[in-house]
């Protein structure tokens, strides 16, 4: 027990000297020293996880501390301010992954509670064909088809709402109300109507993305000034010409905002709908089935697939947005 106290004292003193070291050495050199130190401690922690038992947690704390100092040093690097922005998220990711791995192995956490990342990675690469089939079933067939249909439907209704003021005053409050509701609860009903296959998942996604999209597109279509619309009128432009050349492009920032919100909703809808019944393929089915077998490494692999799909979709939307709404102030660098 006495030894533990000494160890703690040691780390405390270490913290003081790290600060003094950074002040003395300047940013560039401290960053260059901390990076190899960061990697070295990660390797030591991973190697000594089983041998040190509970004490391995101290290695993790030290590792996180060095990571923090490394990022902090990088952030002050005047020569290349962008580097810290790029590196910092990866540093945190490394801290979380290494910490998770070391603690699970050191404390011998049973893998039915929390499998270590290495085991998850093994399961992931070992089951690529299964996971790909699940991805195709849930994301490509269920979520994407519903997403496209729901967004197009919302666009159509939004144009109707825009043309007829009565509809605007009637549908918009209803749409705003519906956008806040737990629409995912319609999943059991829609699964009953459209069967267990991807069609019912697409239907859930349509209902989920429709209202946020509607609200956003209508707000976007209203986002032109009277002066701009008057200009179109002096050109004797028709409603549709005005819509195509002025108001739809002006609505694009709002549309992309809605598209991004609905992209996540689409994935949630498709996965949760599978909890209410599905064929023997699909991300939601795999989560449920693997939970039944307490194969948590498989559940985590499915979550990795869902996370990658969500980030990819978001990334594609961001690129499209930058390309199509380059004129908008929020896109200026």
């Amino acid at each position: 027990m006495h030894w533990v106290c000494q160890e703690r004292e040691f780390f405390w003193l270490g913290g003081l000297s790290v600060r003094r070291f950074r002040e003395a050495m300047g940013t560039t050199i401290s960053a260059m020293v901390f990076l190899p130190l960061f990697v070295l401690i990660a390797l030591i922690a991973l190697a000594r996880a089983e041998a040190d038992g509970g004490m391995a947690i101290l290695w993790v704390v030290l590792f996180a501390y060095i990571g923090w100092q490394f990022v902090d040093a990088l952030a002050g690097w005047a020569e290349a301010p962008g580097v810290a922005r790029l590196v910092a998220p990866f540093a945190l990711g490394a801290v979380v992954l290494v910490g998770w791995e070391v603690i699970v192995r050191a404390l011998d956490v049973p893998s039915v509670i929390l499998p270590p990342p290495s085991q998850i990675a093994g399961t992931f690469t070992g089951n690529l064909p299964t996971l790909w089939a699940d991805f195709v079933q849930t994301i490509l067939k269920g979520a994407m088809s519903g997403y496209v249909i729901g967004c197009l439907l919302a666009l159509g209704v939004a144009i109707l709402v825009d043309r007829y003021d009565f509809l605007r005053r009637g549908l918009l409050p209803v749409g705003n109300f519906m956008a806040a509701l737990p629409i995912v609860g319609t999943a059991p009903i829609l699964v009953m109507w459209f069967g267990f296959d991807w069609q019912s998942k697409a239907a859930v996604v349509v209902v989920m993305v429709f209202f946020p999209m509607l609200v956003n597109i209508v707000a976007g279509l209203a986002d032109t000034s009277a002066m701009q619309r008057d200009l179109m009128r002096t050109y004797s432009a028709s409603y549709w010409q005005t819509l195509r050349t002025l108001r739809l492009p002006a609505a694009l920032p709002f549309v992309f905002n809605g598209l991004k919100v609905s992209a996540t909703l689409a994935l949630i809808g498709a996965i949760v709908a599978e909890f209410f019944g599905s064929p023997t393929v699909g991300l939601g089915f795999r989560i449920n089935a693997s939970l039944g077998q307490l194969a948590l490494d498989m559940v985590w692999s499915v979550i990795v697939v869902a996370a990658v799909a969500g980030s990819l979709l978001y990334g594609v939307l961001t690129v499209l947005e930058r390309w199509l709404t380059f004129w908008h102030p929020s896109q200026r660098r």
């Binding site: 923090w68 990022v71 902090d72 952030a75 810290a84 922005r85 910092a88 998220p89 540093a91 945190l92 990711g93 039915v112 509670i113 929390l114 009565f166 509809l167 605007r168 005053r169 009637g170 549908l171 409050p173 209803v174 109300f177 806040a180 509701l181 737990p182 995912v184 609860g185 319609t186 999943a187 059991p188 009903i189 699964v191 009953m192 109507w193 991004k260 992209a263 996540t264 994935l267 949630i268 996965i271 949760v272 909890f275 209410f276 019944g277 991300l283 989560i287 449920n288 939970l291 307490l294 948590l296 559940v299 985590w300 499915v302 979550i303 869902a306 996370a307 969500g310 980030s311 978001y314």
Partner: protein, 324 residues
């Protein structure tokens, strides 16, 4: 005054009523084709002559064509038991029966037993509400703390913020069943496990919104405080925190809706009461009225919670001296 209120009625209330009435009318009409096959099977069993006489032919026929070939047999469409689509008044009846009637006259109701019946939506709604609110409170408090950390610590901003944004793009609700099962196996069940999911779902929206809010004071305002030689703590309490209030409430509204979804999904794997359990139970046994009634209770609860946050928001902004 009366002219203005009449105008307000015509401009704001009438269109909403018209849209809602249209939706209800569409629902009533849709009940006919949705239930036509079951209705015809039942009519045939009672001795009526159905136009395609064999069940196999009817299974392959279109719903609308069946409606038009047997218009005289469709009277029971709106009173079917376990209908594919129950009519609105059937849902209303189920709602009434599983709340008021169950509690006042049921054997396990509050009048006879002194506690809410486990067959009533009051009880199940309460179970879900408890988990939602507990998770929401924990999640938003942690979210605010993280936001303060992000705003005041450069390394945290650089490393945590990108992950907070990415986390908004991934369907974290997929984690819910696993969290429930894992917490169940370590001995935590029911309220705590569901609240953990709700907290997790409401955590990130609040953190992201609050960071935006705490950063909303512009350089001029921050400079002004610097000329007063205000410290970090003073500029936090007197400028940053008040400026963040509108952002906080906007994200709290999103968070409470997410929190409710989390609680409902969290009730799916372990069937221990709650609206999610009612929905899944209803879908197992084909009790569609039960699903619809649970759905409506969930909708009313979501609307009520969002309205409540909005009410606090108005009160707070008024107390802070904001112009309406």
């Amino acid at each position: 005054m009366s002219a203005r209120s009449g105008n307000r009625f015509g401009r704001a209330v009438l269109p909403v009523l018209a849209v809602v009435a249209t939706l209800l009318a569409v629902w009533y009409v849709a009940v006919v084709p949705m239930n036509v096959k079951e209705v015809l099977t039942q009519a045939e069993r009672e001795g009526a002559v159905v136009v395609p006489p064999s069940a196999a032919e009817r299974r392959d026929a279109g719903r609308w064509s069946l409606v038009f070939t047997n218009p005289h047999l469709l009277g029971s469409s709106w009173s079917m038991d376990r209908a594919r689509l129950p009519a609105p008044h059937q849902v209303a009846q189920e709602l009434w029966a599983s709340t008021w009637v169950e509690e006042t006259t049921g054997r396990r109701g509050i009048v006879r037993s002194g506690s809410f019946s486990n067959r009533s939506l009051v009880y199940h709604g309460g179970v879900t509400l408890g988990a939602t609110v507990l998770g929401f409170v924990i999640g938003s408090m942690l979210g605010v703390l993280l936001a303060v950390g992000i705003v005041y610590n450069r390394a945290m901003d650089l490393s945590v913020m990108p992950w907070a944004i990415i986390s908004q793009t991934i369907p974290i609700v997929a984690l819910a069943p696993m969290i429930i099962v894992v917490l169940y196996s370590v001995g935590l069940s029911g309220l705590v496990a569901k609240a953990a999911i709700s907290a997790y779902l409401s955590f990130f929206p609040v953190a992201v919104g609050m960071v935006k809010g705490l950063r909303s004071p512009d350089a001029m305002q921050l400079d002004l405080l610097r000329t007063y030689s205000a410290g970090k703590a003073q500029s936090f309490w007197k400028l940053r925190l008040p400026a963040s209030v509108p952002y906080l409430f906007a994200s709290l509204k999103i968070a409470i809706a997410a929190s409710l979804v989390g609680a409902i999904v969290g009730e799916l794997p372990v069937q221990r009461g709650g609206l999610g359990a009612r929905m899944l139970g209803g879908s197992y046994y084909g009790q569609t009225e039960q699903i619809w009634a649970a759905l409506i209770v969930a909708a009313v609860m979501a609307a009520g919670l969002v309205w409540f946050i909005g009410w606090i928001e108005r009160r707070t902004l008024k107390a802070m001296g904001a112009q309406p």
